[in-house]
C-alpha cells in the first residue's frame, strides 16, 4: 500500500487544481455571467475534482485488494517497477481531469454529474457496514467450524453447565451465559432507560438553557469514563453495599458480586446513551405538536408522554438499542461486578457472567489455542451475533408498528 502514497497525493493535488480550474472555466464559458450556466460554477468545480479523484482512488483500492489476495496465494501481481502503477493511476486522474474540464459548457449539467459522484461515495460508505458484518462473520466462521468439529453442537447450545477445563472434557454450554447476558443487560436497561429518558425529557422540556448546556455534556462524561473505573466502583462500593443492605437481610445470599451490582453500575454508564440522543430527538419535535396539546389543556407532562415521546419514538428506540448493545458488549463491569461464574439462577443477588466476558476470557486464557476451550470464544461470538440480530429484528418491527410521523 505504501508506495501508493505518491500517486495518492498527486491525485489529491490534481483534484484541488481541477476544482479551481473548472470553476474558472465555467465562468469563462459563461462570459462571467453564471446565470446562463446550467449549473453553478462550484458544481462544475466539484464535478471535476471528484472526476479526477475518485476513479484513481477506486482503482487504487481495488488494486491493493487484488495484490493482497494475490500475495495470499503466492502470486506476485504487483509489477516490479512501481512506476507503472504510478503512470496508470496518475493517467487515470489526468483523464478524469481533462475530460471533465472539456465537458464544461453552458448546458452541461454539472450538478447532476457531481451528485452522481457523491451518491457513489454515499453508497460506498453504506457498503462498509455490510463489509464489516461480512468480515466479522468470516473472521469467526472457520474457528467456529473447527470448534464444532471438536465439540458437539447440541452440548454447546443446550447444555446448562459452563465449566471449561484445561485437561479437556469441558462443559461448554452457552445457556447460562446467555441467561447472564440477558439478565444483566435487562437490569442495566431497567435502570438506564427510565433514568436516561427522564433526564432527556427534563433537559429538553424543563431545564433552562444554561442548566441544559452544562448538564448534558456532564452526563456525557459518564460514557467516557473507562469501564474499569465502573468495575472497581462495583467491586469496592456497590457490591458490598447491596450485599449488606439488601441481599443479606433479605436472605438472598452473601455474594458481593451479583447481577444486580453489575446491572446497576452498567446502568449508570448507559444513562448518557439514552439521555443525550433522546434529548436531541425530543428537541427536534416541532413546537406545533406541543402547542396543539397544551392548547387542549394538557399539562406539560401529559404533552410529553402522549405527544412528544410517541413522535420521537424511533429515535428513542435507536438510543435504547445503542444502550442495549453497549450492555451486551460490556466486559470489565461484569467481570468486577458480577463475577466470572456461569450460573443459571433467578436470584439477582447471585454472581453470574455474560457471553462477552467469556469470549474475552477464553480468548485471552492459557489453554491450548487450538482446543475447544479457546475456540469456543468464536462460537460464542457468532452465536451472540445471531441472537442480537434476532433481537434487533424484533426491535425493528416494534418501531415500525408504533412509528408516528409528524409533518
Amino acid at each position: 500500500m505504501l508506495p501508493l502514497s505518491v500517486p495518492f497525493f498527486t491525485t489529491i493535488g490534481l483534484a484541488v487544481v481541477g476544482y479551481l480550474l473548472a470553476r474558472r472555466r465555467a465562468l469563462t464559458v459563461a462570459s462571467g455571467d453564471s446565470r446562463v450556466l446550467n449549473a453553478l460554477p462550484h458544481q462544475h468545480g466539484l464535478n471535476t475534482a471528484l472526476s479526477t479523484l475518485l476513479p484513481p482512488l477506486a482503482v487504487m483500492l481495488l488494486w491493493a485488494l487484488v495484490v493482497r489476495i494475490g500475495a495470499r496465494r503466492d502470486l506476485v501481481l504487483a509489477p516490479e517497477n512501481p512506476v507503472f502503477t504510478y503512470i496508470l493511476l496518475i493517467g487515470l486522474a489526468a483523464t478524469g481531469f481533462v475530460l471533465s474540464l472539456l465537458r464544461i459548457s453552458r448546458d452541461f449539467r454539472a450538478r447532476n454529474a457531481s451528485e452522481r459522484w457523491i451518491m457513489a461515495l454515499l453508497i460506498f460508505a453504506s457498503t462498509i457496514a455490510i463489509l464489516t458484518t461480512l468480515g466479522i462473520v468470516l473472521s469467526m466462521v472457520t474457528e467456529t467450524y473447527s470448534f464444532f468439529g471438536q465439540y458437539d453442537w447440541r452440548d454447546f447450545f443446550f447444555s446448562t453447565t459452563w465449566s471449561p477445563n484445561f485437561r479437556g472434557g469441558s462443559d461448554l454450554g452457552i445457556i447460562p451465559l446467555i441467561w447472564g447476558t440477558l439478565y444483566i443487560s435487562f437490569i442495566a436497561l431497567v435502570f438506564a432507560v427510565p433514568v436516561g429518558l427522564f433526564a432527556a425529557v427534563y433537559l429538553s422540556e424543563y431545564a433552562s438553557p444554561r442548566l441544559r448546556s452544562v448538564a448534558k455534556p456532564m452526563i456525557e462524561i459518564l460514557a467516557g469514563i473507562p469501564t474499569i473505573v465502573y468495575g472497581l466502583f462495583a467491586l469496592v462500593t456497590v457490591g458490598p453495599l447491596l450485599r449488606d443492605y439488601f441481599a443479606a437481610p433479605m436472605g438472598l445470599g452473601q455474594s458481593a458480586s451479583s447481577v444486580m451490582t453489575a446491572g446497576l453500575v452498567m446502568g449508570i454508564m448507559l444513562i448518557p446513551f439514552v439521555s443525550s440522543l433522546s434529548d436531541d430527538i425530543i428537541n427536534a419535535v416541532p413546537q406545533a405538536m406541543r402547542d396543539g396539546s397544551l392548547g387542549l389543556g394538557a399539562t406539560k407532562s401529559e404533552t410529553i408522554r402522549q405527544v412528544v415521546i410517541p413522535a420521537a419514538l424511533p429515535g428513542i428506540v435507536g438510543a435504547v438499542l445503542l444502550a442495549a448493545s453497549r450492555a451486551i458488549g460490556e466486559t470489565m463491569i461484569v467481570v468486577l461486578g458480577a463475577g466470572a461464574a456461569a450460573r443459571l439462577s433467578l436470584n439477582p443477588f447471585e454472581a453470574m457472567t455474560t457471553v462477552t466476558v467469556k469470549i474475552v476470557s477464553q480468548l485471552t486464557g492459557d489453554t491450548d489455542f487450538a482446543s475447544p476451550e479457546t475456540l469456543v470464544a468464536f462460537a460464542l461470538g457468532l452465536t451472540l451475533f445471531v441472537i442480537t440480530l434476532g433481537l434487533n429484528v424484533v426491535a425493528l418491527f416494534i418501531v415500525r408498528k408504533y412509528r408516528e410521523q409528524y409533518e
Partner: protein
C-alpha cells in the same frame, strides 16, 4: 351553566390537582434522573481524582554526582550498563550524605534504596549526551523510589513500612530529613505526560507520553473516517435508498453491529488489517481503523435517528424551490440533524477513546517505550508501535506495585481531559445548531 362546569380558575379543581401532582412528580422524576446521573458522576470523579491527583506530583532527589572517566568506562563495558551507573550514583549519594551529616545511622543499603532504578538510565543518557562531562561534578535531579514518593503522598506510612518488604522505617526518617533540608523535593510531574511507560520495577518513572500520542493518532483516524463515513452511510440509507427489505436488512444489520462485543472487532482487525492487508501490528493506524469500524454503528444509528426526526415539510420546502434531493439534505436536513449527529460522535468517540479490548488482539495492549512517529518511511502513516490511554490504565491497574494505582487514576484523569478537549468543539457546535421550529 358553563361557569359552573369549569369553576374558578383561582381554585384548582380536584382533577387538575391530581394532574398537577402528576406533573410535579414527572418533573421530579426528571430532576432526580439528572440528579442520579450527576451524583454518580461526582462520586466517580471524586474517587478518580482522589486516587489520581497525587500522580501529578513527583518526588526528586537532588545531589551532586561526580563523574569519573574510568568508572564510566567500566560501566560501559558491563552487560547491564545502567546497573553499573546506578552504582556510581550510589557512591556519590553516600558521599553527599556523609559530607552533610545526613546519613547518621541509616544503613547504607537503605540510603541506596531510596533512589529509583530509573536513575542509572537517566545518568547514562546524560553522559551520552554530554561526553565531555567526565571529571566534573554535576548536580543531578533523580527520581526517588516509588515507596519514598508514596511516603510523601500518604500512601506509605511508618506502620506500613514495617510490613513492607520494599521500604524500611529508616528510609522514611532519612527522607524526612532530606526533605527538610531541601535535597528531596516534590515537583509538578511533567514527566508523567512526556515519559513513556516504565517497567513494573519503576512506577515512579512511568508516564503517558506514548499513550497520549497513540490515542491522538488513533482518534485522528477515527474522526477522519468514522464521522464522514457514518454520516454518508446514514444519509444514503435514510434519505436515498429505496425502502425495501434490503434497507431493512441493512438497518437491522447496523443496529446489530453496535451489539457486537468490542473484542470481536479486534478479531476482525487482526484478520483484515494485520493478516490480510499486512499493516503493522501494534500500530495506531490499525487501532484507529478497528475503532472506526466499532464507532461507525453508533454514529450511524444516532445520525439516522436524527435524520428521521426532521419533519418532511422541510424537505418538501427545499424540493419545491427546485433543490435536488442532495441539496435539500445537505443544505437543510443535515444542519437540523447536526445536534444528534454530534451527540453520536461524542458518545462514539468517548467509547473509542476508552476501549481496550479490541486493541488486545491487534497488539496495542503492550509495553512500548519508543515514541511512534506520525509518519515514517518504512512504517507509513501512524504505522509505528504505540499504546493508548485506556491501555495504560488497563496495564497499570494490573501491576503489582501499588504505586501504579495512583498512576492509573492519573491516566484516567488525563483521558477524561483528553475526551473533554476532543469533544469541546462538538459540544460547542451542537449548541449552535440546536433550534426549535
Amino acid at each position: 351553566m358553563s361557569a359552573s362546569k369549569h369553576g374558578s380558575l383561582l381554585q384548582t379543581d380536584p382533577h387538575t390537582k391530581k394532574r398537577n401532582a402528576a406533573e410535579k412528580r414527572f418533573r421530579m422524576y426528571g430532576l432526580s434522573a439528572i440528579g442520579i446521573a450527576i451524583v454518580a458522576l461526582v462520586i466517580l470523579l471524586v474517587s478518580i481524582i482522589g486516587n489520581g491527583a497525587s500522580s501529578f506530583r513527583q518526588t526528586y532527589l537532588s545531589f551532586p554526582v561526580t563523574i569519573n572517566a574510568t568508572e564510566i568506562e567500566a560501566a560501559e563495558s558491563a552487560l547491564l550498563k545502567t546497573g553499573a551507573y546506578n552504582k556510581i550514583i550510589q557512591i556519590s549519594l553516600l558521599a553527599y550524605l556523609t559530607n552533610n551529616d545526613q546519613l547518621q545511622d541509616t544503613p547504607e543499603a537503605d540510603a541506596f534504596g531510596m533512589i529509583s532504578d530509573e536513575a542509572g538510565a537517566t545518568f547514562r543518557r546524560f553522559i551520552l549526551a554530554n561526553p565531555d562531562a567526565a571529571g566534573t561534578t554535576f548536580q543531578m535531579n533523580l527520581l526517588t523510589n516509588g515507596r519514598i514518593d508514596g511516603y510523601f503522598k500518604g500512601r506509605v506510612t511508618a506502620q506500613t513500612a514495617l510490613l513492607d518488604k520494599n521500604v524500611t522505617p529508616a528510609q522514611l526518617i532519612l527522607a524526612d530529613r532530606l526533605a527538610d533540608q531541601g535535597t528531596l523535593v516534590q515537583r509538578f510531574n511533567w514527566a508523567f505526560f512526556t515519559n513513556p511507560d516504565a517497567s513494573d520495577q519503576r512506577p515512579e518513572a512511568a508516564g503517558l507520553g506514548v499513550a497520549i500520542l497513540g490515542s491522538l493518532y488513533m482518534m485522528a483516524v477515527v474522526l477522519c473516517l468514522a464521522l464522514p463515513i457514518g454520516v454518508a452511510a446514514s444519509i444514503y440509507l435514510e434519505e436515498f435508498a429505496r425502502k425495501s427489505w434490503i434497507t431493512d436488512v441493512i438497518e437491522v444489520n447496523i443496529a446489530n453491529l453496535a451489539a457486537v462485543p468490542s473484542i470481536v472487532y479486534g478479531i476482525l482487525g487482526l484478520a483484515i488489517f494485520i493478516n490480510f492487508a499486512e499493516l503493522n501490528q501494534s500500530s495506531p493506524l490499525v487501532g484507529g481503523l478497528v475503532l472506526t469500524l466499532m464507532t461507525l454503528p453508533t454514529i450511524i444509528i444516532s445520525t439516522r435517528a436524527s435524520l428521521k426526526s426532521i419533519p418532511p415539510s422541510i424537505r418538501d420546502a427545499a424540493l419545491g424551490v427546485g433543490a435536488s434531493k442532495m441539496q435539500s439534505v445537505f443544505h437543510h436536513v443535515l444542519p437540523l440533524a447536526a445536534p444528534g449527529i454530534l451527540t453520536g460522535t461524542i458518545i462514539g468517540l468517548a467509547q473509542a477513546l476508552g476501549e481496550t479490548a479490541p486493541l488486545l488482539l491487534i497488539g496495542m495492549v503492550a509495553f512500548v517505550k519508543e515514541y511512534p512517529a506520525a509518519w515514517s518511511p518504512d512504517a507509513g502513516l501512524f504505522g509505528e508501535a504505540s499504546t493508548a490511554l485506556p491501555v495504560q490504565v488497563f496495564n497499570w491497574t494490573q501491576r503489582s506495585d501499588p504505586a501504579f494505582v495512583e498512576r492509573a487514576s492519573g491516566a484516567i484523569i488525563t483521558l477524561l481531559i483528553f475526551l473533554l478537549i476532543m469533544n469541546a468543539l462538538a459540544i460547542f457546535l451542537r449548541k449552535k445548531f440546536e433550534r426549535r421550529w
